[in-house]
Amino acid sequence: MLIFECPYCGVLTDETDLAAGGEAHLKRFGPGSSDDEFESYLFNRENPKGIHFERWRHVNGCGKWFNVARCTVSMEVFGTYPAQTLEPPAEIKDKISEKKPGWKWKEFS
C-alpha cells in the first residue's frame, strides 16, 4: 500500500484515501499550438522504469491535488510537494540523486 504525506494537511494518507492523476509537470498546449505539441501534451507519456513525478488527489481528505516523487520499481517515495510548482523542489531532487545518480526526467534532472 502506497503511503504519502499530504503536503497540505500534513497527514500520512494511503491509497484508499487518494486518487491517482498520472504524470505531473505536463506542459499544457492549447489552440494555436502545433500538432506535435498537442499530441505530446495530450497523449505521449514518460512512463519511466524508475523515477516518476506524478499527481495524486487527496479525495477522501482535503480534496487537493499534490505531486509525488516515486520510484516505479522499488515504490520508494522521495517526497511530496504542492501541485503549484513547475519543478520538484531541490531537496527532493538531491534526495533522488543520492539514491539514483544519473537519473533523468524530461528537461530537469
Binding site: 500500500m1 491509497e15 498537442f38 505521449n44 507519456r45 514518460e46 512512463n47 519511466p48 522504469k49 515504490m75
Partner: protein
C-alpha cells in the same frame, strides 16, 4: 521435430519416456539476423511464427530478457472473446478467436482451447443498454453474440446469485464461442514451431539499446552482445515505454499493475466464463478445479509486478455477493503483471518514427485473446513494411488524428 500424437504417447509410455525431444533449442545468438523480435511473450512468438509461415521469413531471432512466456502471457486469466464494439477491434479479435479454434492442430501442440462461452453480466441499466448496443454491433460485424435474460444467465451458471441486493443480474452479453485456453501452452506451442523453422529463441538476453543510423534501425545491444538486423519488432507489453525510450521516441502508453488470484481446487461447478464489469471482477474455473479470479487495474505507474491489496479486496468482496458459494474458499496464489494501457484501451500495431522499427503493444488488460490475430497482423506489417487491413486502424498516429478506437466506454474492464 517429432510430431506429438496419440501414437507417440503410447510409444513413449512403453519405453519409459526416453524418446521425447526438447520442445525448442536454446542457441547462442548469431551476429546478424533479418528480423529481430524483442520479447518472447505470446505476441512476439506469434509474430515470428507467422513471419515464417505466411511470408517465408525464417532468419529470425526472438530475444527475451527472462524466460519465454514469463511476462503477461504467463500471468493472465486466459479469457478469449471477440465481442468488442468497434469494427477494427471486432476484426482483429475475431480473427484471433477463429485462429484459436484450430491452433492446437496448426501447431501440433495442445493449447487446450475451451470454447465454453463467455458472459458479461449487465448489473446496471447503463450496462443493459451498452451490451444491447454491442450485440447489435456484433451482429453487423459477423461476430455471434446475444443479449440474454437473467433466467438464462442462471441456467448457464447456476452458482450465480441473480438477486443480489446491491448487484442484481439484469441480463448478460453472451458469446457462446468465447472461452479460455492454456496460456503457457500458447507460448510453448508457438516457441516449438518457431524453433522448428530454424528461428532462434534466445532467453536471458535483455535488449539494452537500439542502434539506429540515419533514422533507420540497424541492430540492438543486448546482454549477450551486439546483434545486427534489417528490421526490429518491439513486442514487450509493459516495457514498451522503456524500449521506445531506447529507440528515441515516446508512446501514448502507461504501465500499470493488473492482478489475478486462484483458489484451492474444488469440484466442477462452473463451465462458463463470467465477467462482471461494474464491480471489476471476473471468474472461471480451471481444468484443475481452481477458481481463477481477476480484477481491475491499479491507477498508477508501476513496473514491480505487484499491485495494491485493496484492489483485490474490492474485487473479491463484489464477487462474493454474486457467487456466495466462493465465500469460504481459500486463495492459493496471487500475482500481478505490468500491463501497457493506451488512452482508448485499444492496441498499437504500427510503424514508428524510426524506419524499420515496428511496435506491437498497448494490449493492456486484454491481449491474451488476441495473440494469434496480433501475430498475424504484425507479421504482415514487418514483412511488407506497411500495415494490412487488420493492423492499419491501430497505427500509433491515430491519437494525433483523433481516430480513436474507443473500447474504454464499451467495457470498464477489457480482459
Amino acid at each position: 521435430m517429432k510430431k506429438y500424437s496419440a501414437f507417440a504417447v503410447a510409444r513413449e509410455a512403453l519405453r519409459d519416456h526416453i524418446g521425447w525431444e526438447r520442445a525448442w533449442q536454446s542457441p547462442e545468438p548469431r551476429s546478424k539476423y533479418d528480423v529481430i523480435i524483442i520479447g518472447a511473450g505470446g505476441h512476439g512468438l506469434a509474430t515470428a511464427y507467422y513471419l515464417g509461415k505466411n511470408y517465408g521469413i525464417k532468419n529470425v531471432a526472438i530475444l527475451e530478457k527472462g524466460w519465454l512466456g514469463g511476462g503477461n502471457t504467463g500471468r493472465n486469466t486466459t479469457i478469449i472473446r471477440s465481442n468488442y464494439l468497434q469494427d477494427p477491434s471486432a476484426a482483429i479479435y475475431e480473427k484471433a478467436r477463429s485462429l484459436y479454434e484450430n491452433l492446437s492442430q496448426d501447431l501440433n501442440y495442445n493449447i487446450m482451447f475451451s470454447p465454453r462461452g463467455v458472459m458479461m453480466l449487465a448489473q446496471t441499466q447503463h450496462e443493459i443498454r451498452g451490451y444491447k448496443r454491442t450485440a447489435h454491433a456484433n451482429a453487423l460485424q459477423g461476430v455471434s453474440t446475444e443479449f440474454i435474460s437473467p433466467q438464462k444467465v442462471k441456467k448457464l451458471c447456476p452458482i450465480i446469485n441473480i438477486e443480489g441486493p446491491r448487484y442484481p443480474v439484469l441480463g448478460a452479453l453472451w458469446q457462446p464461442r468465447g472461452g479460455t485456453a492454456r496460456h503457457d501452452a500458447v507460448a510453448w506451442g508457438y516457441a516449438r514451431a518457431c524453433s522448428d523453422m530454424g528461428m532462434h529463441i534466445i532467453q536471458q538476453c535483455e535488449v539494452t539499446g537500439v542502434n539506429t543510423m540515419n533514422g533507420k534501425a540497424v541492430g540492438v545491444e543486448t546482454t549477450k552482445g551486439t546483434i545486427v538486423c534489417e528490421k526490429i519488432g518491439i513486442v514487450v507489453a509493459g516495457h514498451s515505454g522503456v524500449l521506445a525510450d531506447m529507440a528515441g521516441f515516446r508512446l501514448p502508453i502507461e504501465s500499470v499493475a493488473l492482478q489475478a488470484l486462484v483458489s484451492e481446487p474444488i469440484k466442477p461447478c462452473m463451465d462458463v466464463v463470467v465477467m462482471a464489469n461494474t464491480v471489476h471482477g471476473y471468474m472461471s474455473q480451471s481444468d484443475k478445479g481452481e477458481m481463477v479470479i481477476g480484477g481491475g487495474a491499479d491507477g498508477y505507474n508501476n513496473y514491480s509486478q505487484r499491485g495494491s491489496f485493496h484492489h483485490v479486496e474490492e474485487t473479491v468482496r463484489a464477487l462474493v455477493e454474486t457467487f456466495p458459494i466462493i465465500s469460504r474458499l481459500k486463495m492459493l496464489r496471487w500475482w500481478g503483471g505490468i500491463v501497457d494501457m493506451t488512452g482508448d484501451r485499444s492496441p498499437i500495431i504500427s510503424k514508428t518514427p524510426v524506419k524499420n522499427i515496428f511496435m506491437n503493444c498497448g494490449w493492456g488488460t486484454g491481449g491474451f485473446k488476441a495473440i494469434p490475430g496480433s501475430g498475424w497482423a504484425m507479421a504482415e506489417l514487418i514483412a511488407k513494411g506497411e500495415p494490412g487491413p487488420l493492423a492499419e486502424d491501430f497505427r500509433v498516429t491515430r491519437f494525433r488524428e483523433g481516430q480513436f478506437i474507443d473500447e474504454s466506454v464499451a467495457a470498464g474492464v477489457a480482459h
